[in-house]
Symmetry: none
Subunit: 225 residues, 2 copies
DNA sequence: CATACGATGAGCCGCATGGGTGATGTGCTG
DNA sequence: CAGCACATCACCCATGCGGCTCATCGTATG
């Protein structure tokens, strides 16, 4: 079973190079190419590739928007390829946007050819792969944003919340309903309600909306940055 | 300039295998070994390696705790190696703990030898590298925890909220009830409910708690005064 | 051993909240 | 002037949510 790939890049030379490189592999077929995001989406809808190699910067429609459309397809479109983003410069905005959109990988164009080939196989297999510099940033971001969720914040410390109550509060602040919190923590919904009742009482809050505010203001959760 | 590596694993056979594999590389020197985390930390402090290959599961002190000690050294210890975690099973708790501790990579022991070698070079260079399955999970986690609406302006601007609706959203994010919002804006409560209904529909939110989250994540309101 | 606290969960009750439909007035724009 | 977006408000309805009470169980803590 060969891996069907399409290449979306505005530079014809780049497309030709990648196509030659990949087509030389016995388990990879290049079944299409496109010079911009809009056409890339069309080609993908037509040829149903397993993997889409997508440049970030392109005219008409950039790679990020194209990736979003492929990964969050409209009603009726069932095909959902893996998207492997490519870029010349590793600008982090691109990376984060791409990963949010659901891309399976992010490589720099100056990566060794062998890396590109193995990357195609990896994402075709449902796994994911990032350029080392991107990995480093993602890890740094991950570690920074929750070095073991900060249970500090003056208001929070003096609040007298138990660990479990704090946990429930955090899920409230992530927008979950009582039922969802119960499922997430493997509890009866009634237990969740009890916890929430205590949280609201201890913090002097009226409802979950105010609880969300408290969670943000106390630093229990932080706006994504 | 060769890369100095130590190998920490409780299985002598694994140590021997990795050592042989790495020592065969002209740019890599294996300068030490240890059978558990405690000794691993000692050996690292003595031999100042560039990279520590660290098994997760070990007697005495597991790889996670050892990694923490190496990556967050006590006063007086200036040496801070890169840590590349190794595991047989990819249990995510381990992964997250290791990444929080500041590890530069996480590989499965069944990875191809070439991957291990290149991983050592990558982390020695200050970059990071994860096993594809780990990468996939990290990305999924990343995307899940901040999916759609975010980033001060764009999400808000593209949301299509009218000025009045935005005003109501802000008051929701201040913790006011519908009745209080109505009083604050000199409206009937029913009008407030209509506005809120439209806000929720336009933003794809379920309830006012999620609306509060959106307000914070979009920058409409910010923590701290 | 007695006590206290935390976690779990049940039952009941009332209201704020959210969804849907529809109507009116106003101001801007083609 | 016709059309449209926006703001305003009414009525109905189902229910998620929060308040209140009470009970069980395990683990510290004295």
């Amino acid at each position: 079973m060969t891996i069907k790939v399409i290449i979306v890049d505005d530079q014809a030379m780049v497309r030709a190079g990648f196509a030659a490189l990949l087509a030389a592999q016995s388990d990879i077929d290049v079944v299409g190419e496109a010079p911009d995001g809009r056409e890339g989406v069309e080609v993908s809808r037509r040829s149903h590739p397993d993997v889409v190699l997508m440049d970030v910067r392109m005219p008409e429609m950039d790679g990020l928007e194209a990736a979003r459309q492929l990964l969050d397809p409209p009603r009726g479109v069932t095909h959902r390829p893996k998207v492997l983003m490519l870029t010349t410069f590793d600008v982090d905005d691109y990376v984060y946007e791409a990963l949010r959109a659901g891309a399976s990988g992010f490589l720099l164009k100056d990566a060794p050819p062998a890396d590109l080939i193995s990357a195609v196989r990896v994402v075709a297999a449902g796994e994911a792969l990032l350029a080392p510099s991107v990995t480093r940033r993602l890890i740094a971001d991950f570690a920074r944003q929750r070095p073991a969720p900060r249970r500090d914040g003056p208001a929070l410390r003096r609040s007298g919340l138990t660990p479990r109550e704090t946990e429930v509060l955090e899920l409230i602040a992530r927008g979950l309903s009582n039922q969802e919190i119960a499922e997430s923590l493997v509890l009866a919904e009634q237990t969740v309600k009890t916890h929430i009742g205590r949280v609201l009482a201890k913090l002097g809050l009226r409802d979950r909306a105010q609880a969300v505010i408290f969670a943000y203001e106390s630093g229990l959760v932080t706006p994504g940055q």
